[in-house]
């Protein structure tokens, strides 16, 4: 694949998907700067591997698999697990908003997501933000459908506990 062809296809892909990737990364990391770093790293690797990305059945799914797996790898390597933010102002700062802009529910959701394990958060992002079905989510995470279902169930239970049972519904997906 010649560089011009690669550049054109990559540019089109970034225009179409980068914003969604950053938003998904924000949900995964809970942090603006970390999300941007994560996406930059993933996009760089996607460019290097572009012939493989372009020939994948679903290049977008390939990209989000790379995003979630990189997030999980980095979290595992660093042995870091996001702490539940004690101070809502910290959460607001990480979200890049002011108190006036961010509702109480949003802060609560940030705390609730931060309280999930990384893999549960990845399941929530893939299933409920990107709206992949159980089978695709399992394939992207390299695990069984049963694992996705159980992780999803635990994650939703945690979110309902944190936000109040009536605050969320799972939707039809």
């Amino acid at each position: 694949m010649h560089r011009d062809t690669r550049d054109a296809a990559f540019t089109e892909f970034v225009h179409a998907q980068r914003a969604t990737m950053v938003r998904a990364a924000r949900l995964l990391t809970g942090d603006h700067a970390a999300a941007e770093d994560l996406v930059q790293g993933v996009l760089t690797r996607l460019y290097v591997k572009w012939p493989r990305v372009a020939s994948a059945d679903d290049p977008v799914a390939y990209a989000f698999r790379s995003l979630t797996n990189t997030f999980l790898d980095e979290a595992r390597r660093a042995h870091r697990r996001r702490e539940v933010t004690a101070d809502p102002h910290d959460a607001l700062a990480r979200l890049g908003g002011t108190e006036a802009e961010v509702s109480g529910l949003r802060v609560d959701l940030d705390r609730a997501l931060a309280g999930l394990g990384e893999r549960q958060r990845a399941v929530v992002v893939l299933r409920h933000f990107l709206q992949y079905d159980v089978g695709t989510t399992a394939r992207l995470l390299g695990c069984s459908e049963g694992t996705v279902k159980s992780q999803n169930s635990r994650a939703l239970a945690h979110l309902r506990d944190a936000l109040g049972a009536a605050m969320i519904t799972e939707g039809k997906n």
């Binding site: 010649h2 980068r18 930059q40 996009l43 996607l46 460019y47 290097v48 591997k49 572009w50 519904t169």
Partner: protein
């Protein structure tokens, strides 16, 4: 009662700036670094293997370690020594035995640790232009790309982004003694992966070459 999907969308916020040019620049730099690293490793491996063998007189199957020729009945060629008879069906180069590559390719340049193949007796260009078989020392493992099993051995496939150039691909495998052999081919060579796997599976490095390098 809000759905989780809506909450997450709201929570993820908006992304205003998308600097595609910066992403492209980072990609260019990463690809250049990767290719330079790979090419450096490959060429260094060729050079190291060649230097290791050439610098050690005893490596030559037709010479003793002190550099004196081995007394033979016929010409002092590697094949003249009894233990260096080419295995059946294999061709012989200075340091390796290899099967016919097919598709009209023959060895156009034998540089010891590397052999460049061309069609119809065409002169050999660089190893980036033609199919090239090369050896790598054990400290230069050619573990690039994904793996494929063939005849009970593991082969590494350098295709797509893992290839040294966009128009090339290659396959490497480790020999029982830790050395590596790689066949790198151009897309237009017409060789299939199966053909390359089978070719590499039959490649052998001459015994004296290993021993000489091991002494270094």
């Amino acid at each position: 009662m809000p759905e989780l999907h809506d909450l997450l969308h709201d929570h993820a916020g908006e992304v205003r700036d998308t600097d595609v040019a910066a992403d492209l620049r980072r990609g260019h730099r990463a690809l250049t670094r990767r290719r330079a690293r790979f090419a450096g490793g490959t060429l260094a491996a060729c050079a190291a293997a060649t230097a290791a063998v050439v610098a050690w007189p005893g490596d030559r199957p037709d010479q003793r370690p002190d550099g004196a020729p081995v007394a033979t009945e016929g010409p002092a060629t590697p094949s003249a020594t009894p233990e260096q008879t080419p295995p059946a069906g294999l061709l012989e180069s200075d340091f390796m035995y290899y099967p016919d590559l097919g598709h009209g390719f023959t060895a156009a340049r034998d540089e010891g640790a590397s052999i460049i193949f061309t069609r119809n007796g065409a002169p050999a260009g660089s190893l980036l232009d033609s199919p090239t078989l090369y050896m790598s020392t054990p400290n230069q493992p050619q573990k690039f790309g994904g793996t494929v099993e063939y005849e009970g051995r593991t082969f590494y496939r350098q295709v797509g982004a893992d290839a040294i150039r966009d128009h090339m691909w290659g396959i490497s495998t480790e020999l029982p003694d830790g050395w590596w052999v790689t066949l790198q081919v151009t897309d237009d060579a017409g060789l299939t992966e199966r053909e390359v796997l089978d070719f590499l599976h039959h490649v052998e490095v001459k015994k004296g070459v290993h021993e000489g390098a091991a002494k270094r």
